[in-house]
Subunit: 406 residues, 2 copies
């Protein structure tokens, strides 16, 4: 199940990026589970990773390699997270990078490893290594759609999008892909996402842009509140376009580029929630008038994580009492219950902390029948706002997570 129409995947190539995929048969033999990115030497790379303290071995190693050298290759496998395996996991990630380095005549530190899939099972290193040559032979600028498929696990849809913009007469392209469906409550990053552009951008500026874009996109979604051990988002700027590099936030093109980057990240983040495990509805929880950014987030996530609220959405039941109870327990520093208003789309259901006088159940039910619903909560305590995307809690969520080992 997934919410809304599946968008067509028109992904533009990014000059300076080639992609190859192959099948290593990590969990099944039918589809490609190895994805290899090759980056032009001019490419600058920025990254954000999970804040889960039990981070996976490839996350630890990728962080090290990023600190040591400029990446030339990204090596990704799906089907196995290589997490929860201690030094054995680190060794496995290291061996994969070494084998690739040998084949492509690179240094191990120039390779960033990524894994996604089941936690706690040893990564079948030999299978991965056996598939490397096929992935290298497959390298091509047009393979973004194959990459978007190759990184999937419990996803039911491929997720990707492209954008372009004009900056001082130069045409700039951005393309990104992502995967993720369960264990989604990114904290600095998402499951796995790779975004590239041909714009020349210095590394510090690229990292600052990425941090800002993530903060309004991947860090504002939740499916189940469970932050993954493997989250990673990589932003690559190949610099192939013949235009001056963006070297500081003072550059007039900075804001324009960041704007499009943020939009692209928001598209990918929303695609993950639309494909949330068992999701039948996309819920936008919008908080206005909070006394602080922290208060806005606390209220937003408490509502977005409440199993009672989420099952009510699944049932199309405008059960505002559950929303109100979630707001009340959110531990906001400043909350006056008599000033809270709640809207379902444009229908005011709670005014001044109680059922709105002219609200009828029929109005609420009309909104709840929609696939995509905005819950707007007005706290009237200050000027801070936030929006969090989530989905409902359905029978299929239980089924997916009870029947399959993830």
């Amino acid at each position: 199940m997934a919410v809304g129409k599946s968008a067509e995947l028109n992904l533009s190539a990014i000059p300076g990026i080639r992609i190859g995929t192959a099948s290593a048969g990590i969990r099944q033999n039918v589809r490609d589970d190895i994805v290899l990115f090759e980056l032009a030497d001019t490419t600058r790379v920025a990254a954000v990773f999970t804040k889960n303290k039990f981070c996976a071995a490839p996350v630890t190693l990728a962080r090290q390699h990023l600190a040591d050298a400029r990446p030339n290759y990204l090596l990704i496998n799906s089907g196995n997270a290589n997490a929860g395996l201690g030094t054995q996991g680190l060794l496995a990630a290291q061996q994969c990078c070494e084998a690739l380095a040998e084949r492509v005549n690179s240094k191990t530190a120039n390779i960033l490893p990524f894994s996604t899939g089941v936690i706690g099972e040893p990564l079948p290193v030999n299978k991965v290594i056996s598939a490397l040559q096929a992935a290298v032979d497959d390298l091509d600028t047009e393979h973004w759609p194959k990459a978007a498929t190759g990184i999937m696990t419990t996803d039911t849809r491929v997720k990707g999008c492209s954008r372009s913009l004009e900056l001082d007469g130069a045409t700039i392209t951005l393309t990104g892909i992502a995967k993720g469906s369960g264990m989604i409550r990114p904290d600095m990053a998402t499951m796995l996402s790779y975004v590239a552009t041909d714009m020349p951008i210095s590394q510090p500026v690229l990292q600052s842009m990425l941090n800002k874009a993530v903060n309004v996109s991947f860090n504002r979604i939740t499916v189940d509140g469970d932050t993954s051990t493997n989250d990673a988002l990589i932003l690559m700027a190949t610099g192939v376009v013949d235009t001056p590099e963006i070297e500081s936030e003072g550059d007039s093109r900075y804001a324009e580029f960041l704007n499009v980057l943020s939009e692209l990240c928001q598209f990918l983040a929303e695609a993950i929630v639309r494909d949330g495990e068992g999701a039948t509805k996309l819920i936008k929880v919008e908080i206005n008038g909070a006394a602080s950014a922290e208060d806005a987030e606390k209220v937003a996530y408490t509502v977005a994580h409440s199993p009672l609220v989420k099952t009510a959405f699944f049932a199309s039941d405008p059960n505002w009492g559950r929303i109100l109870a979630a707001i009340g327990r959110a531990k906001a520093q400043q909350l006056n219950v008599d000033q809270v208003s709640i809207y379902l789309a444009d229908v005011c259901i709670v005014k001044a902390g109680m059922r709105a006088a002219d609200y009828t159940e029929a109005q609420g039910q009309h909104v709840m029948q929609q696939d995509e619903i905005t819950v707007r909560i007005e706290l009237a305590q200050g000027v801070f706002s936030t929006t969090v995307l989530t989905c409902d809690l359905s029978y299929d969520y239980v089924k997916i997570n009870a029947e399959y080992r993830s």
Copy 2:
């Protein structure tokens, strides 16, 4: 559904407490939904209420009345929470108290009101008032089982227990009842619980005992993480037994009494989790070796609330990767992932942050087949421990909360 055998309800009368029940037909006409407690004049009362800022009207009024006078009556209705209704709700609770005060020749401030049931629908005051005389006529010391039934909502089992102890030659009795099944994550109290004893205990000492007992019982359970708007726990000491009053914590009988009180509260709290909505398993999450009490709680509740962990328990799947991921995202101040060990009952599944060398999936599955499972997490960072009780997340949880308005 509920976990474990249903215990027989042998509830001892408490001299000084009489109970009457009646049917007001608030939601259905078939069963009693009004419960009235009459307390002897000598009774001291201690109370804890929900910390949800959207607390229900009866909670607000009960707090006021407790501050103003010594309670003689508790008036409880099930089927309607009288919450989310602003001043209209307060007026309704006030009217019920006034009507009862008139009938029993008491003052309004001597009556504590309680409600539980659906949020946001106006309390049918006239129905409640019409049933008052029948409840008064029904007053009897032996009616504890009827009270335990009368306060139920989505509960599938009645919950109550009695204990007795000898203190300096005097035989002391304690009896308590509770209700609760969903919207359970008490924060200072539980849905509704009433505990009484015939022991003479001064009010400040009674309150201190209650706070301590709640902290090791009702404040250590969660079904769905949703703190209710109506939680209340009332402890009554009628003082009918002819023995000196406990007037300070220095009294040698203080610890003995508190011990039995805590045990009784733990029994009731556990009964609520066993009857958690859709529950098929009782899960005890035990944290040892935390660097602080806060860290222990953060880890315990993050594991206990994780939908991925809870669905794995429902599926009897020893999916330790999900437990490990939950520990890692719990935001404990001090956590060294390489020192974490996890046990399912006596089976060590994770040692030093990774799958235990001699662990086999068969061992894990054997434990997961049980109805009642202890997950023990050793953090090896300090000396703080805590235990939280929760249940699994099943299809029936979604069904109960999607199909019924709560």
